[in-house]
Symmetry: C2
Subunit: 301 residues, 2 copies
């Protein structure tokens, strides 16, 4: 019908439309209560990467938020396929969203009685950190006054849109000339940043925080790749002091893979460049994106 899908597509209310036409109502609790479970899967060279892992996590998140969107996992997968095929995007950032909706009984304040609904959208692949910045080694601001929302307030393992702490941290980072931000928790441990997990490499050991963070699929991939390189990996509390004493620091994100870090606040790593191990892991991640074992090919027309 001549629709323009170059900026992306959306699947919403059973229709596939250009992403700019996909909207939700201003009274939907998805917006007014940030009451959403979502997930993001990358598409690379015409295939979803680790699609089953992302769908598993999305379904788990919906259950933990007690949402029922009335679609099976297979129907959600089919919607994602049809949408990306229609967009013709071969490298894409694909979001799937379960929204609380609005109360079935007008005026109700009961989250159990809402019309939950599903939508999805895809846009050209997003790099959380631009490739040229990642290759040179990103600069990271470790906030000293904004703390990550604790896990007994909002569960970080169900991917969610509660980004107020990240947004505040991003303002602090950008004002100081840093690329992005990582937040500490209330006990002096490092947690995560807007869209990524963090890793500290020291000797033959790679450590990443376990509590108060999303258990990222790319985090999992990064741990697998590190072990394949012969490193021991540990998922546990990572004190700020230990992070600052690391040999190398890197980030993991579905939007760009492994990102070496060259600097955190005043601390310079690897002479202000990307570290050798992180650089290798970054390349290994992009190689893995091409591994048929992890790819679900999309049937474009």
């Amino acid at each position: 019908m001549g629709k323009d899908f170059t900026k992306g597509a959306a699947w919403i209310r059973g229709q596939i439309v250009p992403v700019a036409e996909a909207t939700i109502g201003v009274t939907d609790w998805a917006l007014t209560h940030s009451d959403v479970a979502y997930d993001v899967v990358p598409v690379w060279e015409g295939a979803f990467f680790r699609l089953g892992d992302y769908l598993d996590r999305f379904v788990t998140s919906m259950h933990s938020c007690r949402m029922d969107v009335g679609l099976s996992r297979a129907e959600i997968e089919a919607a994602l396929h049809a949408m990306v095929a229609r967009s013709e995007l071969r490298e894409a950032y694909v979001a799937m969203v379960a929204a609380r909706g609005t109360p079935i009984i007008p005026g109700s304040r009961d989250p159990r009685n809402c019309a939950n609904h599903f939508y999805a959208w895809c846009v050209p692949y997003i790099h959380v950190v631009k490739p040229e910045v990642a290759e040179a080694g990103a600069t990271l601001w470790l906030s000293d006054n904004t703390r990550r929302i604790p896990d007994d307030s909002v569960n970080p393992r169900a991917k969610n849109y509660h980004w107020g702490d990240f947004t505040q941290g991003l303002f602090e980072a950008k004002d100081r000339g840093f690329e992005t931000v990582v937040l500490p928790d209330h006990a002096g441990n490092v947690t995560e940043g807007p869209g990524f997990n963090i890793f500290a490499l020291k000797g033959d050991k790679v450590v990443t925080p376990d509590r108060g963070v999303l258990h990222g699929i790319t985090r999992r991939t990064a741990l697998e790749l590190a072990r394949a390189e012969g490193f021991r990996t540990e998922e546990r509390a990572l004190p700020v002091a230990e992070l600052m004493e690391a040999d190398e620091v890197f980030l993991s994100t579905s939007g760009g893979g492994i990102v070496p870090v060259a600097r955190i606040n005043e601390r310079v790593f690897s002479n202000g460049r990307s570290g050798p191990v992180a650089t290798r892991l970054r390349q290994s991640y992009f190689d893995l994106l091409r591994d048929p074992a992890h790819r679900t090919e999309i049937a474009y027309d």
Copy 2:
């Protein structure tokens, strides 16, 4: 044009439309980062109540979130007037929203470079607690495992849509047969609930939390009304134990005024009915809604 405004109206992108037609894009950071400053002002018997106070707080919230929606305070006020007049609602819940929007440079992750925008909507007056429940005395669940998002993670004094902790608490409350929920902080003090502040009355003293809560306009009204009744008022940390030892407990909300509480978990107040002082304050609030000193009349056609 025969549009149906019985369910409410919205002012969006300079147009007044039925509320169901007011939508925002699924990629707007208002949704994907819950990056919104908002406020809600009640309309009662055809007039805004304490409109200046609500607009003051909204403008302060926008500044603290570093948003510029390109409208003056007077233009925002005019939009609210025109919208409510068009809706013909004489009792309304009126929301004004500043949204982060999307990056001006596609792919940017910098919150400083987004196209911020304003919209507003109104619906028939919302009672956060139904009047018949409020009059009988509401039941309140004090959560023992969900904590309010701390103020060094998200600033609660800029009214925001980060409700994940409240939603979790509401599920706990509803599952146990309670009307609504109030959350403790991480230090064992009481904070607030979904859409309301809380007060403990003991002897000649009324205490309400000061930190980690919205400084509600109805909270301010409740403190003024309590002082007019001869009570001393204190704004400070309110330990859970002190709340449970109160003579009376009540809530304040722009959606329903003063709400007496008859029970918190196993603790019954006022023999399971609304307390005498809270009942008087509730009536005083509805009387005050008619006080010309606080009213800004709406010019309906």
